[in-house]
Amino acid sequence: MLRSPTVTSQTPAAAPNATPYRLTEDQLMLRDAVRVLADEKVAPRAAEVDRTAEFPWDLKELLATHDILALPFAEEYGGLGGELLNVCLAVEQLSRACATTGLILAVQELGSLPIVLSGTDEQRQRWLPDLAAGRTLIAFALTESEAGSDAANARTRAIRDGDDYRISGSKRFISQGSVADLITVFAVTDAEAPRHRRLTCFIVEKDMSGFKVERIEHKMGIRGSPTAELAFEDVRVPAANRIGEEGEGFAIAMRTFDRSRPGIAAQAVGIAQGALEVAAKYARERRQFGQRIGDLQMVAQMLADMDAQTEAARQLLYKACVEIEAGAPDAARWAAMCKLVAGDTAMRVTTDAVQVLGGYGYIDEFPVERMMRDAKITQLYEGTQQIQRLVIARSLLGKDS
């Protein structure tokens, strides 16, 4: 007989003075400060970053000097607290201007979450301050050619050798893998163990002998973010660089995604908002048939749907951040939902934005074609939309008993 779990989301009791439906004054200040930087310093570089496909080191410096990269980290490491909603507010505003730049912050969070969640105090002290200051960058290396959605199928090996491990294998599609100073790598320590206990998490430093960037992919979108294939040839990693215990790697990765998927949702919401603003401005200015095209109902309908859907995705994201931060037991469901809805929204909104601009939307005189190309990745990485649906369905239905 199937056991039916309770479907209502179990959230801890609300904090006494929580105002969950409006951003606090601090959050508004943060959002506006990042928005100003995004509009004035990031947006002018976005088209060039896409065209040259070069990692924008200057924009990374900008994020570092303005403490934006400090957002994901606790104050004791020089961070600004690590609150998930604050990180997402910043990713959203940056992504409005340039998805590649928003990703710099999102990846800094993704790569460092294993250290934050499962590292020892010594490991946190060793690495987090430089990451918070933006002096070092970190990437997250789980995916392999034969292990995408099926992450547990990874083949990269880590063999214990005295006080070290020797890591051999390769990783594929690693965001910012070629510019990172630290790589969070998941490798098999026990091939005989049950699937979800095979992997262990390690921090590889880019100067370690045997670590190599094999190639960078040419991509549809987020072209300024280098997506790398990484090779590990007998890389000797001290046991002090192991995060958590042997066999905990997969669990660490899944817990990481519960906190990092909202970052991608934030990127998607930002991209959608950016596209909506360009389309709305165009619809106000472009005149055909003697009137603003925005006053033609078919165009108005598209814009209204774009606005409503972007707002819906945004509100789900903010709520998900608050729930995950509060320690909701169904954090996985919140993370998967916000990423699912935001990614699909971004693709739909950017496609419609190109449509509103007509022929002008197809050429690079306007940014919407870039935004449409950028949006696609939000349906693919950190778990495809199909994987997000599996997570939600499992939360809804429980396991077959």
């Binding site: 601090d26 400060a33 990042v34 004035e40 303005h66 403490d67 957002l71 600004l80």
Partner: protein, 262 residues
């Protein structure tokens, strides 16, 4: 070094500009206020000076009650504290009243340099800093493109922009320096600066506490706005770029069409 910077919250032209109330006066509540752009250059100059010589920066403003919100943006750049003079009586105050109130507010502070922006984007008069310097009997060093204090000697050297280049002025401190944009782009506040600004002190003073009287709209030399109109829209203009003989032909045709010449 102790530095005081005069700061004015003004309407943010980027979000909609200036609105006039029913009495034709600027409705300061209607549009969010930002720090006057020229004052940001003065604050940036002050920040560079304390980075080089040590010390602290105080901001002084005469403004409506909602000014602290705007002053926090200036504090977020790195200034240390603020003094905010606010009083119902000061609504509609003219430039002379403003100078008298600011001079009184500044008189109690200890400083080596008093910095000000060249003018404001709403009033545009550019006379208040001179008034403050006169009232406080401070050396007045205007249109500074470079500020070089010598704290040991107690003097400051300023490059003043002139029509032909610049003059070099030197004066004992304390002195008032009017800053220009040549001093360098103001920095964007960092997030840590924004967070820190929340807990920085902004002392509020009423008019009575400054000891000034005879100011405000009743005392102002001009105190009624009779009317206000937007500038007339300019008719479409044509630009003549042709070389001399063709340009002449075109201008003649233009004048003939309008029967100005036959």
């Amino acid at each position: 070094m102790q530095i005081v910077v005069l700061v004015k919250p003004v309407p943010d032209t980027a979000t909609g500009g200036e609105r006039l109330g029913p009495d034709n006066r600027l409705d300061r509540a209607a549009v969010p206020a930002v720090v006057n752009a020229n004052d940001e250059y003065a604050i940036e100059a002050a920040l560079k000076l304390v980075e080089a010589h040590g010390g602290e920066i105080s901001l002084v403003a005469m403004a409506p009650p909602n000014a602290p919100e705007t002053l926090r943006k200036a504090l977020a750049m790195g200034a240390h504290r603020g003094v905010h003079v606010t009083d119902q009586v000061l609504t509609g105050a003219d430039a002379l009243s403003t100078a008298r109130v600011l001079a009184a507010a500044v008189r109690d502070l200890e400083f080596d340099l008093l910095l000000a922006g060249a003018d404001t984007s709403d009033g545009g008069m550019g006379v208040v800093p001179a008034g403050v310097a006169a009232l406080l009997r401070l050396p007045y060093l205007s249109y500074a493109a470079r500020i070089e204090p010598d704290p040991d000697a107690g003097t400051v050297r300023v490059r003043r922009i002139s029509a032909t280049g610049f003059d070099v002025l030197e004066a004992p401190m304390p002195a008032l320096v009017v800053c220009t944009q040549a001093l360098g782009e103001p920095r964007y506040p960092s997030l840590k600066g924004i967070m820190a600004a929340r807990s920085k002190e902004i002392a509020t003073k009423s008019l009575a506490e400054t000891g000034v009287d005879g100011v405000g709209v009743e005392a102002a030399a001009t105190n009624r706005v009779l009317g206000s109109e937007p500038p007339p829209t300019r008719p479409p203009t044509q630009v003549v770029r042709e070389t001399a003989p063709d340009a002449a032909k075109r201008i003649i045709t233009f004048l003939e069409e309008r029967r100005i010449v036959q």
